[in-house]
């Protein structure tokens, strides 16, 4: 089944949409989740959450590329899960909750500012990645979007490990300069 048909099922509120999505993009989303979380159970949970999130998003949202739409949801869910997990480990339980509670005390203005700054950061990074040479762009996204390991990137592009590391280092340096210029660092 092609992506348009799957999206149409979502818009028809047909539950077959989730089954079809899982069949076609289950492995893809799981690969993203396991890259972030490194734990099978958490990754599986993230993928299942992805289907629910997709079900709630469509409609009204109609994705132009279904695979990356789902991939972004999985990534976001997996990162959030990772944050919670590390916060629990760091805080030993209660301190994470306390920090969350204290977060509420921060003024809403600050949230607005933070949101605006995040939006600006997204634009700057998007523009930065667009300007990268194709090879550097792909390596950068494999590492920092898909969170592939260095070895995996070497295999994908048939590059040596030192080459991949060098590309990533140069790209990070470029990004650092851009963020400084934009006063975001």
């Amino acid at each position: 089944m092609d992506d348009k048909q799957i999206v149409a099922l979502y818009f028809d509120r047909n539950e077959q949409a989730i089954a079809e999505t899982e069949t076609k993009y289950g492995k893809y989303c799981y690969a993203i989740a396991i890259g972030v979380l490194s734990m099978h159970e958490d990754a599986e949970e993230s993928v299942n959450d992805t289907w629910i999130n997709a079900w709630n998003s469509m409609p009204p949202h109609r994705p132009s590329i279904l695979s990356t739409f789902l991939g972004k949801i999985t990534r976001r869910i997996a990162i959030d899960k990772w944050r919670r997990r590390t916060a629990e480990k760091r805080g030993g339980g209660e301190i994470a909750l306390v920090l969350d509670e204290l977060e509420d005390c921060i003024a809403h203005d600050s949230d607005v500012e933070k949101t605006l700054e995040k939006k600006r950061l997204e634009k700057v990074i998007n523009r930065f990645v667009h300007k990268l040479p194709e090879k550097d762009q792909k390596v950068f996204l494999c590492r920092y979007f898909y969170m592939d390991s260095i070895e995996s990137i070497c295999r994908q592009f048939d590059f040596s490990e030192s080459k991949v590391k060098s590309i990533l280092y140069r790209t990070r340096e470029k990004l650092r300069r851009v963020l400084i210029e934009e006063e975001l660092a």
């Binding site: 994705p63 132009s64 590329i65 695979s67 990356t68 739409f69 991939g71 972004k72 990534r75 976001r76 990162i79 944050r83 700054e117 995040k118 950061l121 997204e122 700057v124 990074i125 998007n126 990645v129 667009h130 762009q137 792909k138 996204l141 494999c142 920092y144 979007f145 898909y146 994908q156 592009f157 048939d158 990004l175 963020l179 975001l184 660092a185």
Partner: protein, 195 residues
């Protein structure tokens, strides 16, 4: 601003770039193999006609050499016309291939085409009295008179047809058939023989 913010922001990069990053990459090895194969095919396409031309040229050259050698051999070994008349032994002279063909055609125009017609016959006219000639036939021993000629057409397979040429007739000595000829035809044949 911290690294988590950057990680989040990377999550909002355009879908098309995200998708393209995971498209199957062709390995360098595969690319070089493909390039090598293409180059080999290209060389083959370019070089093959040249190589064929060289071989064809060599073959043609060899064939030409063989033809020339054969022609020379035929010319010197078989192709001769004895132009003297029956009364003396006379001298031997050579006939060019074009003339041989012309002689053959001239005789055919009088007698009708022979079965062995292919233009490769060798013509020998010998004096009728030259009994030492290997082409001399006992059957044709009716000796020519003065001014008459015996023309022998020798096919490349070795078969021989002999004709007696007089001023007014051409006699096939093999079949004993006699063909009347005009003065012009006789002169034409003589001019070819004496060429």
């Amino acid at each position: 601003m911290n690294s988590m913010d950057i990680l989040d922001a990377i999550g909002a990069i355009d879908d098309i770039l995200i998708k393209r990053a995971k498209e199957k990459q062709k390995s360098h090895h595969a690319i070089w193999t493909a390039v090598g194969t293409l180059a080999a095919c290209f060389m083959l396409i370019i070089m093959l006609p040249m190589a064929l031309n060289v071989f064809r040229g060599a073959s043609d050259s060899a064939n030409q050499s063989a033809d020339k050698a054969e022609a020379e051999e035929m010319y010197f070994d078989y192709v001769y016309v004895r132009i003297d008349v029956a009364s003396s032994t006379g001298e031997w002279s050579f006939v060019e291939f074009d003339s041989l063909k012309a002689i053959h055609e001239a005789i055919d125009s009088i007698t009708g085409p022979s079965e062995k017609e292919d233009g490769n016959d060798h013509v020998q006219q010998e004096a009728a009295k030259d009994e030492s000639s290997p082409l001399y036939s006992a059957d044709s021993a009716s000796k020519p008179k003065k001014g008459e000629y015996t023309i022998t057409l020798r096919h490349h397979d070795g078969s021989i047809r002999e004709y007696r040429l007089t001023e007014t007739t051409l006699i096939d000595l093999t079949t004993r058939e006699s063909f009347s000829i005009t003065k012009e035809q006789a002169e034409h044949l003589l001019s070819l023989i004496k060429k």
